[in-house]
């Protein structure tokens, strides 16, 4: 029964092959581009060759006349704007009157073959009137005209944030040391191996089906209903298994809306598969971020106050950018106690592909800054950086200055693991010149506390059907992007009902069949769908148990479920097969089905902007990187990384290992080589939209990884589980930067840490200049009047000074 105490787990914590493993290794998994429907047409998008221009005329007559072309769409066919955040409804499926980056979709063609559709694109005549383009955030901050959008907080500054939690200046006055640093984190992209694809089918009866490689079918559903002006009940969105997402398939996209509209116009199924170059234009990747941080510390390293500023280069559209901006200031407070904290964040529109959420969403940049900054502080104080961190860990069950409620906190154990494993004490500052070791830590949310659009409904829902044959089907809107979310559902339900996970059928990511789950982003899926699945499975157990008890003639509270049986816990041999128990329940009660749902706990903060940062649980990671730096060339090699991650509770051990290793890999790529680079002029053309030129680690660059999984079960997680898919990426870039300093004594305050930057810093060191490569100034920004929120220890209730009771809560998840 629900109250039965679990002493041990049978499924949870084991290393099981994933429920979809066999179809993945046989090639049977159907990704979006694998779909083929009778009479299917193919769509292609015409994209802007200009970074910023007004469209003065479009003539598609010749394209329409081409044999094999069935339809051509332009902006006026889809005039309703959309966007992932309610505050940034600034995209059109096809540009209406303006283009904002090279690659912005302008027109679409449906034809009988991809070749004809491509040929037709050349026949569409678009007249542009080029406008001054903005290649980077500083340029956009300094020049309000011409405005990229007709909405913004100031000129070309999309969003301005100024939050103050206590008097930081007083904090600096109490400090023994006050240090300021500037950092830059270059933009980079997700680079999923699967190119985005979508297919649509329109039945003349008025129902639309869209298949897509999307991480967020629910948001695509909402965007389609809005733009196509169709009732949501007539639209079915099916999220195909994603061939990698990493955040890059979390927005509703132009191509998804375009295929739907083309299917409606032609009455035929349509498919579109983006080229790799187009995937670079979809982007929504890591925001290039300039950061300034000033921290006061006591002699023992205790922080007295911190002031953090960030400037994000947002690209041409809003996307998740408002949330990303808040995230660059949100999680500084959850690792080391910060009694007074001020955050100022700005996001500029520029004429580049839009930035958005990439693995770690808005937090790897400030984490890089903070962890290198702390390394410098430790050096100035003459402290070991591991020791400094261990002495100043945020205690569990804390409420931070910015009102984030932290539950379990396993960072101390993580630091100890990597310090011991890497022989840190023997190696730090003691390796030969050219070799170095560096440490960094981090934390990440396990799901956003608030939904993207304001609503009071659950974030995740599960329906569960028990078949009289003993099988169980779990229906959930979650989306399998390779992280193993389908398997988590199977394992959790199997645990509660005492079944083999392979006896559980999983139906996910289909808006007709599955209850809403908000999507595979913000590391929310295991915690939220897991809790919903536990509730549904426990309800099924409670529904079935009394009937088994009656048959077995024992009290219902003695009924247990395990090994495919339902039995008396006092005499385990006295029992029934699970199927038989379901049959008894079905005979008595009718069809056996239950539901479960999950809503995160209410956030503590009540100020505007408090919606970003709260989470049911925070994961923690610590990382040590070993590097070899060639002083002659500046080339950095990373032979080995030690990573420890506090995952709360392991559900599937093999998946946890895979997520941690994959995060380290992606963090290593960001640390050393990955960058969205543009030509250095106002053409703002992407330099390298190809898999060859966008450098990502191959087997030859990937390091050895020693992984420690730390379990500190969190009461808010399913069986105590927290996230592991994003957090372990965060400490890797700063650990590498700190190790480079240990190796050759130069600070690279910018990622990626390319040979050129290391070489230039070494040259400066040789000349007796500051041994550093990194930004040298933060621009003047017209910050608004700060929102002043007293931290918890200064009283108050999480509202801002002067804020009306029950005032606005930012709702950007």
């Amino acid at each position: 029964m629900g109250s039965r105490k679990k002493k041990e787990f049978r499924v949870v914590g084991t290393a099981l092959r994933k429920v979809d493993a066999t179809s993945k290794v046989t090639g049977a998994t159907r990704f979006a581009d694998d779909l083929s429907l009778p009479r299917m047409l193919y769509a292609k998008l015409l994209r802007s060759p200009h970074p910023h221009a007004r469209i003065t005329a479009i003539d598609a007559t010749k394209a329409r006349a081409l044999a094999g072309v069935k339809a051509v769409l332009t902006g006026k066919d889809l005039p309703i704007p959309f966007g992932i955040l309610p505050v940034s409804q600034d995209e059109h499926a096809l540009a209406l009157d303006k283009v904002r980056f090279v690659g912005d979709p302008v027109a679409a063609v449906a034809a009988t073959t991809e070749e004809i559709a491509t040929e037709a694109l050349d026949l569409i005549d678009v007249k542009y009137e080029p406008l001054r383009a903005f290649p980077d955030a500083i340029d956009a901050v300094e020049h309000p005209d011409p405005a990229i959008h007709d909405y913004a907080d100031a000129g070309n500054i999309h969003k301005l944030i100024d939050l103050e939690f206590g008097d930081v200046e007083a904090g600096f006055r109490e400090a023994d040391l006050v240090r300021e640093d500037l950092f830059f984190f270059e933009g980079n992209t997700h680079l999923p191996m699967e190119q985005h694809a979508a297919a649509a089918d329109w039945s003349p009866g008025g129902r639309l089906t869209v298949w897509s490689s999307t991480q967020t079918p629910h948001y695509v559903h909402r965007a389609l209903a809005k733009v196509l002006e169709l009732p949501a009940a007539r639209i079915r969105v099916i999220a195909c298994p994603n061939g990698g997402g990493f955040g890059g398939k979390s927005d509703p996209f132009s191509h998804e809306i375009v295929v739907a509209k083309l299917a409606m116009l032609t009455g035929r199924p349509i498919k579109i598969t983006l080229t790799r170059e187009e995937v670079f234009y979809c982007h929504r990747g890591r925001h290039p971020t300039l950061m300034w941080v000033k921290t006061g510390v006591k002699k023992d390293g205790a922080i007295t106050g911190m002031h953090f500023k960030s400037l994000l280069d947002g690209g041409g559209y809003g996307s998740y950018g408002v949330a990303s901006t808040y995230y660059t200031g949100a999680l500084q407070t959850v690792t080391y106690p910060i009694p007074r904290y001020k955050f100022q964040g700005a996001r500029a529109f520029t004429n580049k592909p839009p930035c958005g959420p990439k693995r770690g969403h808005g937090t790897p940049q400030p984490r890089f800054a903070l962890e290198v900054h702390v390394d410098k502080i430790a050096e100035q104080l003459g402290m070991d950086p591991a020791e400094l961190r261990l002495r100043h860990l945020l205690p569990p069950n804390s409420l931070t200055a910015n009102w984030l409620r932290v539950g379990t906190m396993g960072l101390g154990r993580c630091i100890e693991k990597v310090v011991d494993g890497s022989e840190w004490k023997r190696r730090f500052k003691q390796l030969p010149y050219g070799q170095g070791i560096g440490l960094a830590c981090s934390s990440y949310i396990t799901g956003a506390g608030l939904p993207i659009y304001w609503n009071a409904m659950p974030h995740s829902g599960v329906q569960l059907k028990c078949d009289r044959g003993g099988g169980v089907t779990v229906f959930c809107g979650s989306t399998e992007i390779g992280q193993g979310s389908d398997s988590i559902l199977a394992m959790i339900v199997a645990e509660v009902l005492g079944l083999d996970p392979m006896d559980i059928a999983i139906v996910t990511g289909d808006t007709d069949l599955t209850p809403v789950d908000l999507g595979s982003y913000s590391s929310r899926v295991t915690l939220m769908t897991g809790n919903a699945a536990i509730q549904a499975a426990e309800r099924a157990r409670d529904l079935i148990a009394p009937h088994a008890a009656r048959k077995l003639e024992v009290p219902a509270e003695r009924i247990a479920f395990a090994d495919g049986r339902v039995f008396d816990v006092e005499q385990p041999e006295h029992g029934l097969a699970f199927a038989e128990a379901v049959q008894l329940a079905e005979a008595a009660e009718g069809t056996v089905g239950t539901v479960g749902s999950y809503t995160p706990p209410r956030s503590a903060g009540r100020y505007r902007g408090a919606g970003v940062g709260p989470s049911p649980a925070y994961s923690y990671s610590a990382c040590v990187a070993l590097v070899d730096v060639d002083p002659a060339t500046g080339i950095v090699r990373v032979p080995k990384i030690w990573i420890a991650h506090d995952v709360g509770r392991v559900i599937n051990a093999a998946s946890v290992m895979g997520q941690i290793e994959g995060s380290v890999y992606m963090g290593l790529g960001e640390a050393l080589m990955e960058e969205m680079a543009y030509r250095g002029n106002r053409n703002v053309v992407h330099k390298i939209p190809s898999l060859l030129e966008y450098k990502s680690p191959t087997t030859l660059e990937m390091c050895d990884v020693v992984t420690y999984v730390v379990e500190d079960p969190d009461p808010n997680g399913p069986f105590g589980a927290k996230e592991c898919g994003q957090g372990p990426l965060l400490p890797v870039p700063p650990a590498v930067a700190n190790a480079v300093y240990d190796a050759v004594g130069v600070r690279i305050d910018e990622v990626p840490i390319t040979p050129e930057k290391v070489f230039k810093a070494l040259r400066r060191k040789d000349k007796g200049e500051e041994p550093r490569f990194g930004p040298t100034k933060f621009p003047e920004i017209p910050w608004p009047e700060p929102t002043r929120v007293p931290p918890p220890w200064e009283g108050g209730d999480g509202t801002a000074v002067g804020q009306s009771v029950g005032g606005t809560v930012g709702r950007h998840a």
Partner: protein
Amino acid sequence: MPDAKAKIALDVNGEPIEVAFAPHKTLLEVLREDLGLTGTKHGCELGECGTCTVLVDGTPVLSCLVLGLACAGRRVKTVEGMADGGVLHPLQEAFAELGAAQCGYCTPAFLLTADALLAENPRPAREQIKDALAGNLCRCTGYIKIYEAVELAAARMRGEKAEPARETLYGQP
């Protein structure tokens, strides 16, 4: 006008077949579009990512860079041809067991590249595995589970009773 179709005979996964297609089509397109073998994936269609790798006469090739016409009379092996009836190939088994397939999109190419490696070298060292797989990109795994799966499968294919190491599945104590 589209080109007239060309027709070739070849061996695909051990079966002789004839297929007609527009002569400009790549092997990748012929496999996916004309033979319905969608297990072969694509990540760039420019020969940069290795995702479309198949074996032609036992050698890994990028099917996006090979014309279908060039495969007349050749033996082509795709992921659909790896399992023996209902029994998975030891590489498939090991990839599934260790979670070496996360999203699964690059997986067919890694399996086939590893298959060719093991045919040539039944006992590859870790560095040899890295070299053999250096042309295949994977964004999910960090490659580590892939190396471990290749090693596990290689041991089993040599007749050894190999099981995954504890730290492979659970991490260091």
